[in-house]
Amino acid sequence: MFSYEFMQRAFWAGGLIGMIGPLLGVYLMLRRQVLMADTLSHVSLAGVALGTVLQLNPALSGFAVAVAGGIIIEQLRRSYRTYSELPVAIIMTSGLALAVVLMSLKQNLSKSFSSYLFGSIVAVSDTQLKLIALVAAAGLLYFIVLRRPLYSLTFDEETASISGVHTGLLSFSFAVLTGMTVAAAMPVVGVLLVSALIVLPASIALRIASGFTAAILIAVLTGLLGVFSGLTASYYINTPPGGTIALILLIFLLTAIGVQKLLRLKHRCSKYRRPLKQLEIHAKP
């Protein structure tokens, strides 16, 4: 498998996105912005279409438009504080509408778009891999350097702001990083499944982690495991990599929920189980 150069690139790209996506996902879920990744992937698709129509590099134009989308969502979030889901809906529909209209302007676009929609190993070019590496490095640096203010911001924005955290700047930079990560993740898992890679590992982590640091580590490890096993499975059984990765992550999530429920039940039974006879005696008045 690794004798093919495109598979090496796919594993590198997948590993980098599998690390930064779930890390971002933990913060997005805790900030109640879980649909932002999905929205920005649609916006990014419009950017890809725009790049193709204007004969620019589609990867770079998708990247730039996704970042711009993140900034606009953050700005709208401030205007619609009471209806925080509204900006996401506005931008998602606008992005998709723009993509559909732009696609109709150019003939024979549907084939190249399918790689963006569903993800493709061969879609990861050298330029895209460099872009992914750059985004992953920037994201990792961002989350390490700003881990303390980000923790305060994620816990409660108002308290953080009053305590002196620059919440406005931090939220804007977070939106930019989200746009960058989503645009970079598109070639690996595709537009339709990009949020799966961001949301599913974080869902598992938030369910089983005992603390914040543990949640981050579990999310990243689950993401990496999901991407590597998904890419391997898709190579051998010849299935689309994006869908395979998402399905494997879903299996991880269902397994985690099942195991957690079983462990709780076992713990409850071993701690509180009493002989039936004794219960009957206690039940008598």
Binding site: D156, I162, S163, V165, S210, G211, F212, T213, A215
Partner: protein, 235 residues
């Protein structure tokens, strides 16, 4: 020493002001209670006097001798436990340690004194035994107490508490008011607390600001009593 001085402050959220030409001086090193009926703009007054909201007109002056880089160091405990992110995947001790982040900056490591401070703050609110619990597993009153421990760990000049005793039982409330009284008397810090239970809190307070709503010329006006009304041990 004056902490914050408001002169003829007017502020509102829509077209009409909720605070109309209010003048008030807040002394540093006092335990101050703000009381009034629902919708009397208690929280708004709190934010105005600390420079967190900009008035439509009038001035709010923060004593620059007490300010660090132009702003006061404020520890804040929000109004409702509902505001608390209950699903936050954090241990109690992680949350309280985060109170020290402001002083540590981005990279400085926790010192032994800071670890001891975190332990002391948790013990002061009787939550040390719960340090390794997930915050989502706690009751409403316990969540409130760890929020207070976190604010104490910040060691702020001004501790701002918005109805902090919500969800606490009588014993916890009494202990908490005593703790705040000690915090002010022993460390010379300022505590400003929005409260409805004036009967319970007045023995501990240095000063009470009560807000009343009056309809005057179609506008809603606020009236405060004198901030020099002293109660409790210092009276």
């Amino acid at each position: 020493m004056i902490l914050s001085s408001m002169q003829d402050v007017v502020f509102g959220y829509g077209e009409d002001p909720v605070i109309d030409r209010l003048s008030l001086d807040i002394e540093a090193g006092q335990f101050i209670g703000i009381t009034g009926p629902n919708g009397a703009a208690k929280t708004t007054l709190l934010k105005l006097m600390l420079g967190l909201l900009r008035p439509w007109s009038g001035t709010v002056t923060i004593n620059q001798e007490l300010a660090v880089e132009g702003r006061l160091e404020i520890g804040y405990v929000p109004q409702q436990v509902a505001a608390f992110n209950a699903g936050f995947p954090s241990k109690v001790i992680e949350l309280v340690r985060s109170g020290c982040y402001g002083r540590l900056g981005l990279f400085r490591r926790f010192t032994q004194e800071q670890e001891a401070l975190v332990e002391r703050c948790l013990r002061q609110v009787d939550m040390w035994e719960y340090r390794d619990r997930r915050i989502g597993e706690l009751s409403g009153g316990q969540k409130q107490r760890i929020c207070i421990a976190r604010a104490l760990a910040q060691q702020p000049q001004v501790l701002v508490l918005d109805e902090p005793a919500t969800g606490m039982d009588l014993e916890s409330r009494t202990g908490f008011y005593g703790l705040m009284r000690h915090y002010v008397s022993a460390h010379g810090r300022t505590v400003i607390m929005v409260t409805h239970g004036l009967e319970e809190t007045s023995p501990y307070l240095d000063c009470i600001i009560s807000l009343e709503r009056k309809e005057r010329e179609g506008w809603t006006c606020l009236v405060t009593n004198s901030c020099s009304a002293h109660f409790g041990p210092g009276a």
